[in-house]
Each structure stands twice: as C-alpha cells, then as structure tokens.
C-alpha cells in the first residue's frame, strides 16, 4: 500500500501547533508595536522591526511596576539552577544510600522521604513561611530555594534506576577494588547520565516557573523572579507600557523553552520512564 498523504492528521496537528505558537507570536509581535497604538487597540500580527529596541530597553530599565528585567532574569536563573542542582545532588545521595546499603531505619527513612510526594508546597505555605521566618531566611536567596529542594520525585526516579543496575556490574567493580565512593563516582553516575539530563530539564523548568513560594518568601523587590515580575506588571492597574510587558513575557519564557527544546530527547525519555 502506497503512503497516502494523511491530510486529516496533518490538519489536526497543524492546528495544534498553531494553538501554541499563535499566542506566543502575537505577544512577540505585540512587543514591538508602539504602546500608544496597543492601548488604542491597534494590534497586528506583523512585528515592527523598529520596535525591537524595546528588548534592550526593558532588560535594563524594566517596565512600570517591576525591576529591570535582566536582574529578574538573573534571579530566576540562579534559582532554577540552584534548585535543579541541589535537588539532583541530594536525591542521588539519598537514593544511593537507600538502595546500595543496609542500615537501621532504612525503610523508615525511605517512607519519610516518600511522604513528601503528597505535600505540594501550596498545602504547607503558612507553616513553611513561619519556619523560614524562625530560621531568619525570609527575603534571602536560600529562603527562595532550599524548601523546594527536598521533595521525593527525583529520589524515586534514581532509586528505580539504581535498583536496575545489574548485580554483576557491582561485583566486577568490587573485584576491581572499587569502594562505595569510587563506585558512585566512576560507575553509577556515568551510567545514570541519561536520567540526570532529563531530571535537570524537569527541575530547571520547575524552579524557573515557581510562583507561590517566591511570592511569599521574597517581599523585597530585589529578589523578584521574572515570573513574579511579569505578574506584577499585569496587575498594575494603570499599566500603559504594554509593549514592554509583552517583551518581558517573551523573555520570561525563553530560557526554560530553550532548555526543553535543546534537551528534548533525554527529557521525554526521563519523563515517561520515571514518573510512571
């Protein structure tokens, strides 16, 4: 049977792609228009080349209601990176300890960590805030990142991978003289590198996209992330610099999208083999 051009499928898929590209495109185009024109409602799908200057401008000066965008981007970047790396390190160590050793209360430790799956941050906001307050971590960078590092998803994923490492590999390493640290460093981590890559993408996006927690913990505008910043801009009743707001929105989603697109193969693998 020759391949017929499956136009219904193509049509549906193109509509789907458009469903996601169009809003972004509109906002991108809108960011280059003249703000006065936008306020009057004269919108267009065609960007204005002259309007591209809004980007450097918004990076250095921000828009009405928020900080300079480059500063917020830095905060977001730092936060996402800290959360991704922090979580990966902690989870690898925990998963390693729990699967490759035996120690008293081992399973208790596992269940304690497992419980965190059932407690998303939105459910413990007030008491977590008061703990941060007691530890004097309000309005600090660690305060932004540390409470988001502990949850179990990464640990579970690594545990699953570690359980599947063939026994003979471990025995061969033992006979070669590798102790626990060497084994972790030379063999376990390299062999788990696909998982690591996928997790990095997932956690970076997770960290970048946080809203509720940074909102609570950082009242000092100098610690605003870009996501917080853009919502602030929208919320300002007397907003007129819509082109700047739109530019900020575009900048807010570029980095995580770039990370996902660049690493999408590992990312999809990691999501579908890990979460289930």
């Amino acid at each position: 049977m020759t391949q017929r051009f499956d136009w219904p499928a193509h049509l549906v898929l193109l509509l789907g792609v458009a469903l996601f590209i169009l809003p972004i495109w509109l906002v991108l185009a809108g960011s280059t228009l003249d703000p006065a024109a936008i306020s009057r409602g004269e919108l267009s799908l065609i960007p204005r080349l002259a309007g591209l200057s809004v980007y450097p401008s918004v990076l250095s000066d921000g828009a009405f209601g928020a900080q300079p965008v480059w500063h917020m981007l830095m905060i977001s970047f730092g936060m996402a990176l800290a959360i991704a790396i922090g979580k990966i390190v902690i989870s690898i160590l925990s998963a390693y300890a729990i699967t490759f050793f035996r120690f008293p209360f081992r399973m208790t430790a596992f269940w304690i960590i497992f419980i965190t799956l059932m407690l998303p941050v939105e459910v413990r906001i007030i008491p977590t805030y008061s703990v941060m307050s007691d530890l004097d971590l309000i309005n600090t960078f660690p305060g932004l990142t540390v409470p988001l590092i502990a949850s179990a998803t990464a640990t579970l994923l690594f545990r699953q991978t570690f359980l599947a490492i063939p026994d003979e590999l471990v025995e061969a390493a033992r006979m070669d003289g590798a102790g626990p640290w060497r084994f972790l460093k030379d063999i376990l981590i390299p062999v788990s590198s696909a998982n690591l890559a996928a997790l990095f993408v997932i956690l970076f996006v997770y960290g970048w996209n946080q809203y509720l927690w940074p909102l609570l913990v950082a009242t000092d505008p100098h610690l605003d992330t870009i996501v917080i910043g853009i919502v602030k801009m929208i919320g300002t009743e007397t907003q007129t610099e819509w082109n700047r707001v739109m530019a900020t929105a575009v900048l807010a989603l570029l980095p995580p999208v770039a990370v996902v697109v660049l690493m999408q193969r590992w990312f999809v693998k990691g999501l579908t083999e890990g979460d289930k």
């Binding site: 193509h10 540390v146 026994d167 946080q210 509720l212 989603l253 999809v268 289930k276």
Partner: protein, 293 residues
C-alpha cells in the same frame, strides 16, 4: 524490591541520606505538623490570644456554605481542566502516532509548551483576552459579546479554565504519545486483519490498552488543576471577580496571607493534604508495581 548486591557498612549511608531527611523534616514534616496544630486553634482578632478548639475549625468550614461552594467550584474547575486538556492531548497524540512526514517536527513543536510557567501562560492569555488590548478580547466585544472578565464571573472562570488547560496539553501529549507507542504494532495489525475499522478499533483495542496512562494522567491533571494553577488564577483574576474563580488553593492563600485567619486557612490546608494523600495513594495502588519498585 531490594538489591542483592550492596555495600557493607552503615555510617556512610546514614551520612548520605541525612541532608534529604533533614530538609524533609524541617520543610515538610514540621510545617505539616504545624498546619495540623494550627488547624485546631483559633486566634482572636488582635492576634494575642490563641486557644485550642479541637475540630471546631473543621466543622465551621464544612458548615460554611461559602466553603462548600468553593469545593464545588474547584471540582468543576478541575474536571473541566482535566477533560479539556486530556481530550485535546489525546487527539493530538493519536494524530502524531501515525506514520507521517515531519513527525519529529510536530513532536518538538508540541512538547516545548511544557516549559511555560502557569503564571506566564496566564499572562499570555490575559494579553489575548484583555478587553482593550487583547486581540481576542477586542474581537469578542466587536462581535457583540459583552466581554469583560473583570466583571463577569462566568467569563472569568472560562478564561482560567482555558489558560490552565492550554498549559497542560503538552505534558499529557508526551505521555499519551508514549502510551500509544508502547502498544505493540502487532496487536493493532491483528485487529485490522480481524476487520475492526477506525473508531471501532480505537475504542475496543487501543483505548483499553491506554487505560493505565489515562488513569495516571487523570490523577496528575487533577493535582495540577487543584494546586499548580494557583499562579494562573492569581495572575489572571486573583480569585475574582468576587469569588467566581476562587478555588480551594486560592482560598487557602486568601484566608491565610491576605485575611490572616490562620486557623481556618490551616484547616483548609489539612483538608487539601488529605485530598492529595487519597489521590496519590489511589495512584500508587493502581500503578502499584511499577512505581513502588
């Protein structure tokens, strides 16, 4: 499941697991415990005197018609978001599963939206639906629809549902596609040879094999709609107009941070906690073997 080959010793592993345990205790267990404690207290208006009131906060909650309303509203919201987002994703996944040219391009183009923050998705839709500056908003008004979500509760709800569902399609798409691709080709071909066509074949052969994925995604979507949408709703409507888009998680925030009613807010948190525990337990029971291995 356990490993047969392990390393001897207990000092090292205890050291390795300590960081996560400490973080868990400080930032999960202790706050959860505090939330449970606070949920059983009441503070007077000046914040001076706190008394233990047992389960009164809970009984107040459940006899408060506004709270019951919020529960109903949240259920409607969650169901709509899950249905809309999973439905669209399934259709797209089915199409992307076929032998098409440019399959991989479609895949990339439908996966990247995973990276959009819920709050940013809200901003994008706001910029689209704004009565004055949004392309769609203006068009609606021109068409004669009195479009202003700042005043119309139903329109506001519609907007947050669409924005929330839109953001989640990507995640569901990835899993549906993986689920479809894990169905052995030979099974579908056997069905074709048996004479099963199109929709019938999909309904009787493909869909039943997709059930584990559907169930898994259902739970994930419900949890997403209940919690992760805070950013979306807060950015778009802050729960308004009035209470039109106030879901349970928004109410926790409002009562706790804005209105400073710690007791009630904590009680609501505890209720939410219980809900998540039930959902997650169900999920692991059903997907049991694979997840807990």
């Amino acid at each position: 499941m356990e490993r047969r080959t392990i390393f001897p010793g207990w000092r090292l592993p205890v050291l390795l697991v300590l960081p996560q345990l400490l973080l868990t205790v400080f930032f999960f267990l202790w706050p959860a415990g505090q939330a449970i404690w606070s949920s059983m207290t009441r503070t007077d208006a000046f914040g001076l005197h706190t008394e233990f009131v047992g389960l009164e906060n809970f009984s107040d909650l459940f006899s408060d018609p506004l709270y019951i309303d919020t529960i109903g509203r949240t259920l409607v919201f969650c169901a709509s978001v899950a249905a809309l987002s999973m439905g669209v994703a399934l259709v797209l996944a089915v199409c992307a599963d076929r032998e098409l040219r440019g399959r991989n391009w479609y895949r990339i183009l439908l996966i990247w939206p995973y990276a959009i923050a819920p709050a940013v998705a809200a901003v994008l839709w706001l910029l689209l639906l704004h009565p004055q500056i949004g392309l769609v908003g203006r068009w609606l008004n021109r068409m004669g629809v009195a479009w202003d979500y700042k005043l119309n509760g139903v329109q506001a709800m519609l907007m947050v549902i669409v924005a929330s569902a839109w953001k989640q399609v990507s995640y569901n798409f990835i899993f549906f596609l993986a689920g479809l691709q894990s169905i052995p080709r030979s099974v579908v071909e056997a069905a074709r040879m048996d004479g099963a066509k199109g929709w019938f074949r999909f309904r009787t052969v493909v869909l039943p094999l997709l059930v584990p994925t559907v169930f898994f995604l259902l739970v994930v979507n419900l949890v997403y709609a209940a919690f992760d949408t805070f950013g979306t709703i807060q950015a778009l409507t802050q729960g308004g107009p009035g209470k039109a888009t106030e879901t349970l998680v928004v109410k926790v925030y409002r009562d706790g941070i804005v209105n400073l009613d710690i007791g009630s807010s904590s009680a609501q948190s505890v209720v939410l906690m219980a809900g998540v525990i039930v959902l997650t337990a169900l999920q692991f029971r059903f997907l049991g073997r694979r997840s807990s291995e």
